[in-house]
């Protein structure tokens, strides 16, 4: 099927503009963060196109997405858009998303597509949006055509038959645009179900001033990290880091780095789920952090509390294990930027320096819902929205499109958050390159709730890592059984 590019003009790059990180970025990838954005009423039922072929100058004729959708009547066009519709007669595609650069990307898309216009609504960030989407799925109507989802939640919606297989709409030709790890995250049973815009390679943010003051070396392994923690503690310095209960996606990334392969799920076998929670790798991670907590070298501040940001900015923490979107999230929260910034970033410490493992935490994608009555146009939106990423649409994100990762303006960018360090080149790009992908459960929110429940017990010492993980394993297994899954324990 000839989808994608035919109708779209490529969005002009404005290289003269410096790579600007937008201030006050929202709490993107962390579903468990507080959602402060005003909740916007559900946009009406999405729907359908009246357009024939690409009548726009951007289209080069031939088979176009809008042409193969059923005509969209005027009444079916979504209204109450947060953006301005440039071409009112075009097929209108509704979109939910909270990415801070969405307004820029949506306007650029609308400008370049006379036959398809995006009607964007911010329906809340992370779980606030997922709850609305789930409700719309249960109701059978009310979902948008295109929706922003984090990779760890894709399976949770796939099982509800809520997402369209984009490979049927020409997504396969974008395969070469993504790394193998990213492809694993967005695919199921060989089909692509979402197009990613940003990822969350995980690295070690550290305070250079504190490291200098206490004569610490940047740790390359977790053993070195623990040694630095001891050194800081005995010299009366601040805590080396944070091990929160309320950020299960982070804990999950740490489990994965140590070698845990928690879930095995494929929509090919919808009702079958592999669960391996109580494993040696996860126990090692819990024991390691709980040991540091018990020695008083690591704090346990919840990362969705405002206290955490204040601890970070006031030098109470020497390091912060964070994903690439974190600096954007912290911008505007009292952090110095430019040459005066005390923060630097380094590769994530390893369990085994000889065979490093890199992980991902968060990352957003765009998927087409099965409720969409204009799936062709919607697929075009999902694929093209961030298909031509530039400095403005990127903001403070780490792009998943490999060609953007290779663009020299991106590779050589100096990040003011890290005092002008070439963070992309030195840390984020190599981390993303080495990421192998992860598999997630079809009920990720429930899993995360239970991980948090376990961490409140194991971190406080009320329960051993062994007891906590084995309890979590049985909780998840019995939940899965009650939901109708056949559970395979590895």
């Amino acid at each position: 099927m000839g989808v994608a590019h035919d109708c779209g003009q490529s969005i002009p790059l404005d290289a003269s503009l410096a790579r600007s990180r937008l201030p006050g970025l929202g709490p993107e990838q962390r579903s468990f963060r507080v959602k402060k954005k005003a909740l916007i009423a559900l946009v009406g039922l999405a729907v359908v196109s009246a357009l024939t072929a690409c009548s726009s100058p951007g289209g080069s004729g031939g088979s176009t997405p809008a042409a193969t959708d059923k005509p969209q009547s005027q009444a079916d066009k979504p209204s109450n858009c947060d953006n301005k519709i440039l071409y009112p007669s075009a097929t209108r595609v509704s979109l939910w998303g909270w990415s801070p650069t969405l307004p820029v990307a949506v306007d650029a898309f609308d400008k370049a597509h006379k036959d398809v216009q995006i009607c964007w609504t911010n329906a809340g960030a992370g779980s606030a949006e997922y709850q609305k989407f789930s409700t719309a799925i249960a109701a059978g109507k009310g979902a948008p055509d295109v929706i922003m989802l984090e990779t760890d939640h894709l399976n949770s919606f796939l099982i509800k038959d809520a997402l369209v297989n984009l490979s049927d709409y020409g997504a396969d030709k974008w395969k070469s645009d993504f790394s193998a790890g990213t492809l694993k995250d967005i695919s199921s049973n060989g089909g692509i179900y979402a197009i990613p815009d940003d990822g969350g390679p995980v690295a070690l943010m550290y305070r250079k001033d504190i490291f200098d003051q206490y004569g610490l070396t940047v740790p390359k392994t977790w053993a070195e990290y623990a040694a630095d923690a001891d050194k800081l503690k005995s010299a009366g310095g601040p805590a080396i880091g944070d091990w929160p209960n309320d950020t299960p996606a982070f804990a999950q990334a740490m489990f994965a780095q140590a070698g845990a392969d928690t879930f095995d799920y494929n929509i090919n076998q919808k009702t079958s789920l592999g669960v391996d929670i109580d494993n040696a790798a996860s126990r090692k991670v819990l024991d390691y952090w709980d040991g540091l907590v018990q020695k008083g070298e690591v704090v346990t501040t919840g990362q969705s509390s405002t206290d955490f940001v204040s601890e970070l900015s006031s030098g109470k923490l020497a390091t912060f294990i964070a994903a690439s979107w974190e600096p954007g999230h912290l911008t505007g929260a009292g952090f110095t930027r430019g040459p005066g910034s005390p923060w630097r970033v380094a590769m994530l410490p390893q369990w085994n320096a000889d065979s490093p493992v890199q992980v991902n935490w968060g990352g957003s994608t765009y998927a087409v819902t099965t409720q969409s009555k204009v799936p062709h146009a919607a697929s075009e939106v999902a694929m093209e929205l961030f298909g031509h990423e530039n400095q403005q649409t990127l903001g403070a994100h780490f792009p998943q499109h490999v060609k953007v990762q290779k663009a020299s303006w991106f590779v050589n960018a100096e990040d003011p958050f890290f005092g002008g360090q070439k963070a992309n080149k030195e840390v984020w790009i190599p981390t993303a390159d080495a990421y192998k992908g992860q598999s997630y459960s079809p009920f990720q929110d429930y899993y995360y709730q239970q991980v948090t429940a376990m961490l409140t017990k194991t971190t406080s010492g009320a329960e051993s890592s062994k007891a906590g993980l084995s309890k979590l394993q049985s909780t998840i297994a019995s939940y899965a059984k009650a939901q109708g899954f056949t559970v395979k324990t590895k």
């Binding site: 509390s305 955490f308 929110d445 899954f485």
Partner: protein, 314 residues
């Protein structure tokens, strides 16, 4: 003219006949329905219909990997053996047992003082005690979240003066007291006004008689005022019991700041909410809601029955 005349004439002569005539004519009856209609319609559409629908939903079950099946009372059996639901229920019951006497004591004391003192300061204090009730619960909870913050709230500054670090009031062990404080602060003013209004309705000649018999101010307060406002106290108790068993807003708002201490099943209402909207288990969530409703109904019924027997009030 004639019709009206005969009607008015007929009325005083034979009231029984009039009643019979009214019974035959449907007009006055239908007018009655018309008056009730605006309320009745809203009541049916927004309360009765959703309740019936939710009950209907609660009789089915649906797993993520299975279709919807009729399960009868299966969800209810599951609810009353579900440790998360029972744990939440235990929490709200214990919370009620501690909170309600505390709240009543605070509001009764405030009302008695304000009733005895009649200066401008008293009127100002009355307003100030009432103000927390006027603050929306969400805003109140957010505000307390800030006040409790060990990192940058006033506690941090206070403890900083003594070079100590502030306690985490939203930790697993402290959260009970923290919530107790928020709810007492929010509702005591409202209950105080109810008691105060009841106190104002007492005939002051009673006080005069008591004083002549040699009663002091303490005796007047405890032996005359308190027994006479007992019916107001029972009313407050019922309000507080229903409200606390359905505890939701404050823990829900404070949960993100609690680092996991406030779990998704912290109270039965939070559990139902999370089941329905986070975990897509709408059928089971309906059953949890009805199970909670049943517990509240039984609790309040037992309470009203007990108080009726003892004090012959209400």
């Amino acid at each position: 003219m004639t019709g009206t005349g005969s009607y008015t004439v007929a009325r005083p002569s034979s009231p029984r006949a009039t009643t019979a005539a009214r019974g035959k004519s449907t007009r006055p009856k239908s007018i009655g329905w018309l008056f009730v209609a605006p309320f009745g319609l809203v009541f049916l559409v927004f309360l009765v219909a959703p309740l019936v629908y939710a009950f209907w939903l609660s009789l089915f079950s649906k797993g993520l990997a299975t279709g919807t099946t009729f399960s009868g009372i299966g969800n209810y059996v599951k609810a009353f053996t579900d440790t998360e639901f029972l744990g939440g229920l235990l929490f709200v019951v214990v919370f009620s047992v501690v909170l309600i006497p505390l709240q009543m004591l605070v509001s009764l004391a405030a009302a008695l003082v304000l009733d005895a003192v009649t200066t401008k300061l008293a009127r100002f204090s009355r307003l100030m005690i009432f103000v927390p009730y006027a603050i929306p619960a969400v805003i109140g909870a957010l505000m307390w979240g800030f006040l409790y913050s060990p990192g940058f709230g006033p506690l941090a500054q206070l403890f900083g003066l003594f070079h100590a670090s502030a306690p985490n009031l939203l930790g697993s062990h402290e959260v009970f007291g923290a919530l107790l404080n928020v709810v007492t602060w929010q509702w005591s003013g409202y209950y105080m006004i109810i008691i105060y209004a009841a106190l104002q309705g007492i005939d002051s000649s009673l006080y005069e008689a008591a004083r002549i018999d040699g009663a002091g101010p303490w005796q007047i307060a405890l032996r005359i005022k308190v027994p006479l406002v007992a019916s107001a106290l029972v009313l407050i108790l019922v309000f507080a019991l229903i409200g606390t068993l359905q505890f939701f807003t404050e823990p829900q708002v404070l949960a993100p700041s609690s680092n996991g201490a406030i779990t998704p099943s912290f109270t039965p209402n939070m559990y139902a909410y999370n089941l329905a909207f986070a975990n897509s288990q709408i059928n089971y969530a309906s059953a949890i809601s009805f199970a909670l409703g049943l517990v509240v109904f039984i609790g309040v019924y037992i309470f009203l029955f007990a108080t009726r027997k003892k004090g012959r009030i209400v």
